[in-house]
Amino acid sequence: MMVFRLGWRNIWRNKRRTGVILTAVIIGVWSMIFLGALMRGISDQMVRNRIAALVGHIQIHHQGYRNDPVIENRITQPEVVIDALHMIPGHYRWAPRIRVNAIISNARHSGGAVLLGIEPELEATISFIGQAVVRGRYLKPEDPIGIIVGEALLEKFETKLGNKLVLMSQDANGEVASRAWRIIGVFRAELKHIEKQFVFVTLSSAQKMLKVDNNLSEVAIVLPSHEMAENAADELKSHLPYQNFEILTWRELLPLVTAVLNMYDIFILIWFLVVFIAMGFGLVNTILMAVFERIREFGLLRAMGMKPRLIIAEVLAESLFILIIGIITGNIAGFLTILAISPTGIDLSVFAAGIEFVGMARIIFPVIHIKDILVADITVIVLGLLISLYPAARASGISPVEAMAHT
């Protein structure tokens, strides 16, 4: 106990010096917490956006659809799949889809797009499209010729609400099916390429156009949280004949996002280490200074019979106090910064095309991951004490004679 009291008093003997090194630790810890939360915000939002952009947490397809997304690779027994969904433990939402590549054209333009046949009410519970229609209206279950397109596609095709678009795609017999639709709604999405890429019609009208009865291209499932996907997918795999179906989680469907998440994990850890090293030099130097100033004192303590072990403990206690104060203040400062930014987020619209390029959200909201904060704080404390062993060992090695000779 005594070493703690001694350590506490010692660090306040030179307030300026302690203040300076505390500032270094506080800024370091603050940057770990705050920038860590920002990076998590970017990656979390990316995952959420991508999942809401028609991916979901799990997708079930006919075997081979993923590599070759054509109508031939369709689920011919949807009832089997829908029955198996009950095996998912806990709450889930799902929607059936037809999803094929198609060519859109009107009198002046033509281009490629993905045609989605959806069950309007079910779809609205799992993807962004339910809330994304900004003009016109969302699909009704029985809409026979209505189509919803993105704002960007509308501009590209120089057309407007109420006009016609012709879609062409390969049907079940391998023939080119072609059909006209009327634009009844316009949607907006976080990313421009989603507005250009996807068009929505009702499931029944898509099935009719492609001549596939009640068959589906995919069944998408959304779970309460994206961590539950692996579990639920395993459950589905054990109940569906795997040679007929491919059951993929978002990690497999979005390898790119998974890679980004891995990269952020690595990057956050590297950042913690780098910042720690930067303040580590200062910490060791400051404690060393404090030790060498007090050579006579340490000599005296030794002469009076204090064990070297206790001297080590005393020096470590000084470092521990600095680290703890720094960490607590740094954490508070980090949380306050996050709190201050949270309501508005950081708006990156200036780089609109750039964030589109990397698939980021336009506004970044910091997200606190408890794990990151623990890792940051523990790294600083453990490594901080570890490097303080050096000055501590120096202090304990001072012999009374050497100390008395020191002026």
Partner: protein, 407 residues
């Protein structure tokens, strides 16, 4: 004399000086490495994008970039080519025409971009000839032959020698239809590109799509990236009489890329700045201590008639000597460290797919340059100098008598 004094003062406490230098060297090393990494990967990304897709510059009809309509053409591309050819900073140029069309194999139909290229000229501008992974590149006398991306080939389920039916709209709105034979596949590594492009010879393209002699773009490669701005200006002036044409550089052709680079740079600088501030506080104690433990010494010097100005200069020289040693060793080690990875490359596990999405090779190579070396060490120098300024100015307020009596 002052210089010698400063030098000796640095080595009065070698341990402290070395720790301080190590902190500065660490920051410098990291900055040299990171900047080389960032700038190196930007250059790779730009070069890949430029070489596979856009070229350094394109001359297009006005509004072609936004609307991509086949009828927005350059009616006399050869005349433009002749003008461009005369410039000595231009390395190569070629003509392209593009049309979105429906492509069917025996059992599949996809919408893709058909690009008409001049086989000989194109090979000088883009890397297309070198990324053929199956079959052969186009020959000048070829007519109804096509090259397609390997992913598109597997989607269409075709092999070389197979036939493809192309169906689209010509420049005049007429139906453009033909049958071409697959001559080879290319693989750029950029999935989007490999999934959506078919190359056919330009004369044949012009014939099918009723283009006459016109083209959609004149693509220009300059001798280096730095020459682009100059060439753009020169071409713009020379083409003044064609008021329906626009000259666009790679930044305008892929706005996402340049914005992403800018954003990445800014984010990088925020991280570096925070890091250097942590380092600055880490080393501030060293600078402060050098004056506080020498108060008496300064008192004596001032009593002997040394002016405060000279003391400040002396102290600045000391700290500048200290930081320069740190920066120089940091730069040297940074160059060696970066050089090692520049030669051997860095493999980050799990991000290969991410890298290929942005046109980066699996193994990343940082690239040392004058900029990456000097900017990092420059920033460290400025901030450490500012840090040293505070104690050096503080010494001016010392009063000889008080200083002499100081403990």
């Amino acid at each position: 004399m002052d210089f010698k004094l400063a030098w000796r003062n640095i080595w009065r406490n070698p341990r402290r000086s070395i720790l301080t230098m190590a902190a500065i060297a660490f920051a410098t090393l990291l900055l040299v490495f990171m900047l080389s990494w960032q700038l190196g990967s930007y250059e790779t990304m730009i070069n890949t994008s430029v070489k596979i897709q856009t070229g350094h510059l394109q001359v297009q009809a006005k509004e072609y970039r936004e609307k991509r309509e086949i009828r927005k053409v350059i009616s006399n591309p050869e005349a433009i080519g002749a003008i461009i050819q005369q410039m000595d900073t231009v390395a190569a140029y070629t003509y392209r025409a593009e049309a979105f069309s429906l492509v069917s194999s025996k059992d599949r139909t996809y919408g893709t971009l058909i690009v008409g290229i001049d086989p000989v000229k194109e090979a000088r501008v883009s890397t297309i000839e070198s990324i053929i992974c199956h079959g052969e590149y186009l020959k000048p006398q070829d007519t109804d032959k096509a090259l397609l991306g390997n992913l598109l080939a597997s989607n269409l389920n075709v092999n070389s020698g197979d036939e493809l039916v192309i169906l689209g709209h010509g420049k005049d709105g007429s139906v453009a239809a033909t049958v071409v034979q697959v001559k080879g596949f290319f693989r750029s590594g950029q999935d989007d590109f490999d999934r959506s492009i078919i190359y056919i010879p330009l004369p044949y393209f012009q014939q099918i799509y009723a283009m006459g002699n016109s083209a959609n773009a004149v693509v220009v490669m300059c001798r280096s990236l730095d020459a682009v701005a100059g060439v753009k200006k020169a071409i713009t002036t020379k083409l003044k009489q064609y008021d329906n044409l626009a000259v666009l550089d790679w930044k305008e052709l892929t706005p996402g890329l340049i914005q992403m680079i800018k954003m990445d740079l800014i984010v990088g600088f925020i991280f570096y700045l925070i890091l250097i501030v942590v380092v600055a506080f880490s080393i501030l104690n060293t600078f402060l201590m050098t004056i506080f433990e020498r108060t008496r010494e300064f008192g004596v010097m001032m009593a002997m008639g040394i002016r405060p100005k000279r003391l400040t200069r002396l102290l600045l020289m000391e700290s500048l000597g200290l930081t320069s040693l740190g920066i120089i060793s940091g730069t040297v080690f940074g160059i060696l460290f970066t050089w090692y990875f520049q030669v051997h490359g860095i493999l980050i596990p799990g991000v290969e797919e991410l890298a290929s999405e942005f046109g980066l090779p699996e193994r990343m190579h940082p690239e040392l340059s004058l900029v990456s070396i000097s900017v990092g060490s420059g920033i460290v120098l400025i901030i450490t100098f500012l840090t040293a300024l505070y104690p050096a100015l503080k010494v001016r307020r010392l009063k000889p008598v008080e200083a002499l009596t100081a403990a």
